[in-house]
Subunit: 233 residues, 2 copies
């Protein structure tokens, strides 16, 4: 996915773009702090129980945040797209990670030490507000997700996941194919179901002409109906 190498200059621009809230001195400080990491497809970025040290900014690629539950079953908590920040929650909460992160596509990630972040937060209120806002949004999403995953039926959960993926990663040029190719297993882990049921329900949706599937490519055909299925559960 990432064909060209990112130069330091480009990375700084990427980050600076989001960090508009910083003054020149703070930007300069930050530019001497970060490092760049590349991750292969399916490579783990951090694990549960690890002590958090860095805030991460996904520059390119796609990342899943997940949690291993009982009996080896894994639940995808959220998906990260460029340019989003992640990995900072646990540090702020003064805990170890309760989730794990892995690249679902080759990814380039900018790592910024949390010590640098907390220093900046303590001297820049707009940056503090950025985190307050981001955490508030994420918490709202998590609350909604809890109810969706527990109360909706299997069709509703899968429909919701498909719509979520569309909202997160968008569509390809044809305006209907999801711009992310997940394995059936990941799709299942995202939707709280077994792989077999993800496969089955997916082909049911295809038979009903709600979607079209070609390997991992998923085309959304009748989005309205998907929304309805997602809503009624």
């Amino acid at each position: 996915m990432v064909k060209k190498e990112l130069t330091d200059k480009e990375i700084i621009e990427y980050i600076s773009d989001v960090w508009q809230v910083l003054d020149e001195g703070q930007k300069d400080f930050l530019n001497h702090q970060f490092t760049i990491q590349r991750y292969k497809k399916n490579e783990t970025i951090y694990c549960e129980e690890e002590t958090p040290e860095y805030m991460m900014c996904l520059l390119s690629g796609k990342v899943k945040i997940y949690k291993d539950g009982v009996g080896g079953r894994s639940q995808i908590i959220r998906m990260i797209k460029p340019v989003e920040y992640f990995g900072y929650r646990a540090y702020f909460a003064q805990e170890n990670y309760v989730t794990a992160a892995a690249a679902v596509e080759p990814s380039v990630i900018c790592m910024i030490p949390m010590t640098a972040i907390t220093r900046l937060v303590s001297e820049n209120n707009r940056l503090a507000m950025f985190f307050i806002r981001q955490l508030s949004i994420d918490l709202g999403v998590a609350d909604a997700r809890t109810v969706n995953l527990t109360q909706k039926h299997i069709r509703g959960r899968l429909a919701e996941s498909l719509l979520f993926l569309k909202d997160s990663y968008g569509l390809e040029e044809d305006q209907s194919t999801l711009s992310i190719y997940l394995s059936r297993e990941d799709l299942a882990n995202l939707s709280n179901m077994t792989t077999s049921n993800a496969i089955r329900t997916l082909s049911n949706f295809a038979n009903e002409k709600l979607i079209a599937i070609d390997g991992r490519k998923i085309k959304l055909i009748d989005e309205e109906k998907l929304k309805k299925i997602s809503k009624i559960g």
Copy 2:
């Protein structure tokens, strides 16, 4: 529960106690902003879709934050105990409430306009850090909860709820009775199950001498075993 009326002075002390991070001018400012509301048992505090205006601080009583899902089923997202703050997430995220709140016991709540809060946050970094930390903790709890509620079996979920209630509200003088008396329905909504299954599982636990039940009074007898049940799912 609240026998004596709280004087303004006492309330200020309550709040000031938590708001140690404020300087004198800020405390003074805050002391002219808040109002006090009393809620009867089962009274609604705010509803889903409402626009948030106040941050609330529970001074006494107990509050549940919940969300109505499909088919009238309700899911309790979290419980609030004195002295905890709630109701601010949606305002920070610039959304309407996605949850509702109700008193499960007669409660006294201090209401502080969010406009006052944001002003204080913008001029006091320690207060900003308070919110960052609090939101980070809540998000971690929400993530863990999602997996627990979706993957654990009914016994594991109920055991977990009982332990959660103990951690949140503590025990009575006998060191074993939960200091909160919930209806079977609330217990079910907390644990993501139907009321009948909450009743059934509860009496199973009683037969197995893990707990003792007397109406809404629940005595924890074998906490270790409850922990084990909660852990293995």
